[in-house]
Amino acid sequence: MKSENAEKKVTRAAWGYPESFFVAFEILILGFIIEIFLKGQGVKTPHFPNNLWPVIVLTILMVYVHVRYRQGFLIKWLSSIPCSVSAISVYALLVLLIGFIPQQETHSGWLHVTGLNHLKNSWPFLIMQFYLLISLGLVVLRRGIPFKIRNLGFLLNHFGLWITLVAAGMGSGDLKRVTLGLYEGRDFSRDGVMADQSSVEMPFGAKLLDFRIDLYNPKIAVADRSKGELLQKHGETLPLISKGFETRLIDWDIRVKDYIPFAVKTDSGYTPSDRPGSMAAAFVETRNIVSGKTVSGWVASGSVMFEPSYLDLDESRLLILTEPEPRKYESAVVLKDMHGNTDTVMLEVNKPCRFNGWKLYQTGYDTQMGKFSTLSVIEAVKDPWLPFVYAGILMLLGGAIYLFWLGRGMRTQ
């Protein structure tokens, strides 16, 4: 009994924070050495099934050492808090570097060779994450076996994080994100472009039936002619205009007599039009509240084809109409797979659709053409590991609620 206590004390006292941080930094340095040795080519994320084996091997190995050596010095230390804190801290240090150094591949220079400009695919990051996962995994095993209900919150948080990190990290090799540029009036297309700009043929064809865009009304503002900037009074909102709209901007009372969302210029002013390049136009009456001077005339927002038109308020100030901003845009797309199955979907930002295991997103359009864009940019995403990531996230959500509910209650050990 006495000797057992003494042994416990020795083990506990043996490796605290200094030793743990020492080990964590050694591992970090090892990672950088490998990266530099390989001239900064980083880590190629493995694809299925090569990303599955490491997970299985790691899991089996961890369970084995846990069962076999759970009282051993090394395993005890690996699942101790000093080890966790040091691993999280050094990992956080790498994330900090990602936060400060722009992550853009250059293929040369010391930032490339050390891996500092592609850290998330670098050896130090991989090895550190691996180390973190081993420590976290052993912690989960120590607390989780045998399972006790009072450890539920702890396990939701720790095991949830472990699953999320493993699935997100290993799954990134199988993640496919393909951009499809679809034009109105063209036939089914299977051409896609990957993130690295390489072309890819999709397992299904897509055809754009219709692209629609909804615009906010334009805003009206007073601008300084020489500086070219908008003038605003303390905290005033730039108003969106409509026909009959009245407001006061700086020193002018403004009244919108006529407003045409899509107009072209004619000799006598502006008339409604459906032609590409037509723009927002408004006929406004203004009155200076100080001098009483009135000015009226057309203002137009301008478009890719036509110049905007301003109204001179005085020698130094102009009244301008801003280009309308998009409120929402959507595409009606027909999809057809290799077996001839078809489906028509409506894609909108924040409202993706599914088709044959792919998720499709509305991402963009020809912003210069605005409402008259015939191009709709769609992204197709396939992420087979997503259910595991979501399982992890769900556990973390549960863990967070548990943490909130019990507060410090869960750490009375």
Binding site: I81, P82, S84, V85, I88, S89, Y91, A92, V95, L96, I98, G99, F100, I101, P102, Q103, K120, A168, L175, R177, Y216, K219, L230, Q232, H234, G235, E236, T237, L238, L240, E325, P326, R327, K328, Y329, E348, V349, N350, K351, P352, K359, Y361, T363, E379, V381, D383, L386, V389, I393, L396, L397, G399, A400, I401, L403, F404, G407, R408, R411, Q413
Partner: protein, 266 residues
């Protein structure tokens, strides 16, 4: 109702809070003063909630887009955290801190109003928008409060004697704040999957949010292992707040963040 009415509402709220603080901190233990003080503080809060509600209706979109708008939410949440903490654990000084900070936020908004726009870009039009941002703001308000407590703790540590209750208050605030921080981060990930096709893209804001999360995680582990050690956790908690601040608005100035999807306010 728009930002031109803000000074009136802000001044009313600040006045009520100042009166409330005076009553609450009045020497001697008088229950009536304490109650009156709390009522005044709650009234100030109600005034601000009124303004926020009317602003929301007027803008036709949640007022959560610009920094100025989020500062307004802090000015609402901080007194709320203060009152709850007071009712739960009875720290008077903490209410005062929270109120002073809220008044500071109101003053910043008065002195530096931004361009307030009605438009909301399609990427932000989502059911996730309000929960994601509100959960984050609430969490930041709590964590900001915990860092104030940490600074107080450090002051006590170096110049007086550390009151064990100071650290306990910090722990309580961190645990609740951290749970909301986790919710905010995960809501963000789930929303990103719907809006941009992937739950994590190492966007600079994501990177810094993750870093903030890790910093508080380190604090919590520190505290669990050797609760008697105080210096390291107190410093960690103070530094964690610096990371949080960079994540919150420092990101607009970082060279690594020029292409961030989170930089909305021009």
């Amino acid at each position: 109702m728009n930002w031109t009415n803000f000074p009136f509402f802000a001044a009313t709220a600040a006045l009520l809070w100042i009166l409330g603080m005076i009553l609450l901190n009045f020497p001697g233990k008088r229950k009536a003063f304490e109650i009156a003080g709390n009522v005044l503080i709650a009234a100030g809060l109600a005034v601000l909630v009124c303004f926020l509600t009317l602003l929301w209706i007027n803008l036709d979109r949640p007022p959560l887009r610009t920094l100025g708008e989020t500062r307004l939410w802090y000015a609402v949440f901080l007194p709320l955290v203060g009152i709850i903490t007071f009712l739960r654990w009875g720290y008077k000084w903490f209410v005062t801190y929270a109120l002073l900070l809220a008044i500071l936020f109101l003053s910043i908004n008065y002195l530096h109003p931004e361009t307030y726009e009605k438009t909301l870009m399609p990427a932000l039009q989502s059911v996730w928008f309000v929960p994601h941002v509100i959960v984050y703001i609430f969490s930041y308000a709590l964590l900001a409060a915990s860092s104030l407590v940490a600074v107080k703790g450090l002051y006590e540590l170096y110049f007086k004697e550390l009151d064990v209750n100071t650290l306990h208050l910090a722990d309580n605030l961190v645990y609740i704040g951290f749970s909301f921080l986790t919710l905010g981060l995960l809501f963000g990930a789930l929303w990103a999957k719907e809006a941009w096709g992937h739950y994590w893209t190492w966007d600079p804001k994501e990177t810094w949010a993750f870093l903030t999360w890790l910093a508080y995680l380190i604090y919590m582990h520190f505290r669990t292992f050797q609760p008697k050690r105080t210096k390291a956790p107190l410093w960690t908690l103070s530094l964690a707040f610096v990371v949080l601040l960079i994540c919150w608005f420092g990101i607009n100035y970082l060279p690594s963040a020029q292409n961030s999807v989170h930089v909305y306010a021009q």
